[in-house]
């Protein structure tokens, strides 16, 4: 696969205090280049009745969104305001709208063509399979084969009959006229071709001329809306993050992929590489440097982590100047011994 890139900074869309990505290229790019996975929260139109695989949109934790903005590779867009302005308040000019509708129509025509092609191929495949099956099975009592072969045979037979009739007619009317034979031969051929499961070329041409266009629901609204990085000073405020952000950032800087971890009993799950490929190593929890907490939390967390073969990691940011490395964040890993 060719490496997919998008131009930076790319937009992150804010809806109801959530940070979302809708463009599939951006999703792939952020994952590959910035180790940001987010959580896919949508459904897949090709497999709508399951919950194992999810689809676009991709929800980013506020931590992830903030990290991307702080790195300068993306900016936040108020998506609700953008849609309100462009679709409900005549924000799009007539030309922009027309161009958008035209491009939708073009996509629709392409989709229609692709679908037709697929249907033809499917039909061919099915026929091939049926033929193979019919040739190999000698048991003609087999019901489905019989049912399938029946009408086809009769159709072919009908075509042959028709042809025979027609030639008989020609023979009777214009005896020995060689030119006319080809004239009459022509209409018989499409009938047999049609029954063999190929698309009628005339019908196909008609479709092309009419420009049959399927309706499409686009994934993103950009285009027709255009988005540009805000000029300095007018950017939306940085996403609000919980106090565990320093640990999140620290782990991320050290190459870990982080995912929300509530259902595993922690704040973040830390993966050594892309979660598509790797098991997680740590259950992370962020704390304030001077925060007091129960020893039981360490025991519970340690037992939980060890029980699922992961390390229980806590960390915080030291407020002292130049205390430890540059990021001032220290992390500790707790494992239960003797289990």
């Amino acid at each position: 696969m060719a490496e997919i890139t998008v131009s930076e900074p790319f937009p992150i869309f804010q809806v109801a205090h959530r940070y979302l990505l809708y463009d599939v290229n951006t999703v792939t790019y952020a994952r590959r280049t910035h180790n940001i996975t987010g959580v896919l929260i949508g459904g897949l139109p090709q497999a709508p009745q399951q919950n194992v695989f999810s689809g676009i949109p991709l929800e980013l934790m506020p931590e992830e969104a903030r990290l991307l903005v702080e790195k300068g590779v993306s900016y936040i867009v108020d998506d609700v305001a953008a849609h309100r302005k462009n679709f409900l308040a005549h924000g799009l000019s007539a030309e922009e709208k027309k161009a958008f509708m035209r491009s939708m129509q073009r996509q629709g025509v392409d989709a229609a063509k692709a679908q037709q092609k697929k249907a033809v191929e499917k039909k061919k495949d099915a026929l091939k399979k049926a033929e193979k099956k019919g040739a190999s099975t000698e048991n003609w009592n087999d019901v489905p084969d019989d049912m399938f072969a029946g009408p086809r045979k009769s159709k072919a037979a009908r075509a042959a009959e028709k042809k025979a009739k027609e030639t008989a007619q020609t023979d009777g009317q214009k005896d020995g006229a060689a030119e006319d034979e080809t004239l009459f031969g022509a209409p018989a051929n499409p009938v047999t071709e049609w029954s063999a499961g190929e698309l009628d070329p005339a019908a196909q041409q008609l479709h092309e001329e009419l420009g049959e266009s399927l309706k499409i629901t686009p994934t993103t609204s950009y285009p027709p809306i255009r988005s540009e990085p805000p000029p300095p000073g007018e950017a939306l405020p940085l996403p609000e993050v919980p106090s565990s952000y320093p640990v999140f950032k620290h782990m991320h800087e050290n190459g870990y992929f982080l995912a929300p971890g509530l259902r595993f009993g922690c704040q973040y799950m830390a993966y050594p590489g892309d979660p598509l490929r790797f098991h997680s190593h740590f259950l992370c929890n962020g704390m304030d440097w001077d925060e007091e907490f129960d020893l039981l939390r360490l025991v519970g967390g340690g037992r939980l982590g060890t029980g699922v073969k992961k390390g229980y990691l806590i960390g915080g940011e030291e407020k002292k100047e130049g205390a430890y490395q540059e990021s001032h964040v220290r992390a500790f890993c707790i494992e239960w011994g003797g289990m």
Partner: protein, 416 residues
């Protein structure tokens, strides 16, 4: 520490079949096995421990990412045969369809009476189905409906621009507060997840307010009526030991178990039961507490395939679900939880259930859907009557150990 053989752990434990595949990031290369003709559930946990910079590993990862990219770029194309058009209505933040096609509409949408139609009086021959924000967003997302922005008057075909998936999220969730709606990302995630799993989901009356006051079905029956309900034996017993219990005058002045002739240990234990306990089968003297807005029943959920189900009158739900935002709320306090449970119906465990089943079943229960940044966990909380299940009153099967503490009989079931 974890090791690479994590996959090799034999999964023969009691929960081998209950592994939730949606728990983890799945390898999209296996999606084809779902969408293809043969339905196979992808294998779980074929992952590595850590990157080791081999070409094999990076190639597999690249293939997974390519498969993911491909799966995510699948377009939503509407075929003319199943085409359903819906138009966004910004004033109500809903959408309407006049010619809905497909089985999904049997459990979605609402046709208003002609007078109440939000577009003004509806003519008799128009069948206008109104879809709630979560319904239309779900339908758009699964590629069933083509939603249009309202026309602005200069279009060729009289229809507005097609609403994109992004536009739908911005409108149906982002513009909710403009119309007083309360659909949030958490609520939508839960709705769509349950729908994808095949359940039918409706808003509960307490969707955006305290809802109706809990009715009679939420209260335990009064002692008088329970006689006729076949709870005779347990009631009789409880009223009996109450009399013989703490209030007895002998016990106040003398020993708890006065010297006398006891024919079983149970009689002595009954006399020792002094500590008052919460009994879920009794009505509380004061009415139900007001519920906390963060902990209210959000959805009524119905199992698919019920012959009694009707969209306009779905009847009592199979499950009640309260959606909770993990980042903005804490674990509910007893008062919050109690008020929430007060609004659920009273369903006592069957008398013939085993002890631990009874405790698990409880007298009232609620399912919490806790959403943390798009990841949903379901928890079932039940109001179990531990104080009502007297261990000394249990009847052991004949043939079990006579002393109760042996290897068989009661001791066996005592717990894990």
């Amino acid at each position: 520490m974890a090791d690479a053989d994590e996959d090799a752990i034999p999964r023969t434990g009691p929960d081998a079949g209950e592994t939730d595949l949606s728990d983890e990031t799945q390898d999209f290369r296996f999606l084809a096995s779902i969408t293809g003709e043969e339905v196979k559930i992808p294998k779980r946990g074929e992952k590595d421990f850590e990157p080791h910079e081999t070409a094999l590993q990076s190639n597999i990862l690249a293939a997974s990412r390519a498969a993911m990219h491909g799966a995510l770029s699948y377009p939503r194309i509407h075929t003319p045969k199943k085409y359903t058009l819906a138009i966004y209505h910004p004033e109500t933040n809903m959408a309407y369809a006049e010619d809905p096609k497909g089985p999904l509409f049997k459990s979605m949408g609402k046709v208003y009476p002609p007078k109440d139609d939000p577009l003004g009086v509806r003519e008799a021959n128009v069948n206008r189905l109104w879809l709630l924000p979560e319904e239309i967003l779900y339908l758009l997302e699964r590629g069933t409906v083509d939603v249009r922005w309202p026309a602005e008057g200069d279009e060729e075909d009289g229809l507005g621009a097609p609403m994109s998936l992004q536009g739908a999220y911005a409108a149906f969730i982002g513009m909710e507060d403009g119309t007083g709606g309360v659909l949030t990302f958490e609520r939508y995630s839960v709705y769509a997840g349950l729908r994808r799993a095949g359940y039918m989901v409706h808003r509960a009356p307490s969707w955006d307010g305290p809802g109706n006051a809990p009715g009679g079905e939420c209260l335990p029956p009064l002692p008088g009526t329970s006689w006729s309900l076949g709870l005779l034996s347990s009631r009789l017993r409880s009223s009996f030991w109450r009399k013989a219990g703490a209030s007895s005058n002998d016990q106040i002045s003398g020993p708890l178990a006065a010297p006398s002739c006891y024919r079983s240990y149970a009689e002595i234990y009954r006399r020792l039961a002094l500590v008052p306990f919460y009994d879920p089968a009794l009505r509380s003297p004061d009415g139900p507490d007001p519920t906390d807005p963060n902990f209210r029943i959000t959805y009524h959920v119905y199992k698919p395939g019920s012959p009694l189900y009707k969209k306009s009158d779905p009847g009592p739900p199979d499950f009640r679900i309260a959606v909770v935002n993990a980042r903005e709320t804490c674990v509910p306090a007893l008062a919050q939880l109690g008020a929430l449970l007060d609004t659920t119906p009273y369903v006592p465990p069957r008398e013939d259930m085993q002890l631990y089943q009874k405790l698990r079943h409880g007298y009232k229960s609620i399912i919490l859907a806790i959403v943390d940044q798009g990841v949903t966990s379901y928890l079932r909380l039940a109001d179990s009557g531990i104080g009502r299940e007297k261990l000394f009153d249990r009847v052991f099967k004949p043939g079990g150990g006579k002393r109760g503490g042996g290897n068989r009989g009661g001791g066996k079931r005592k717990g894990r």
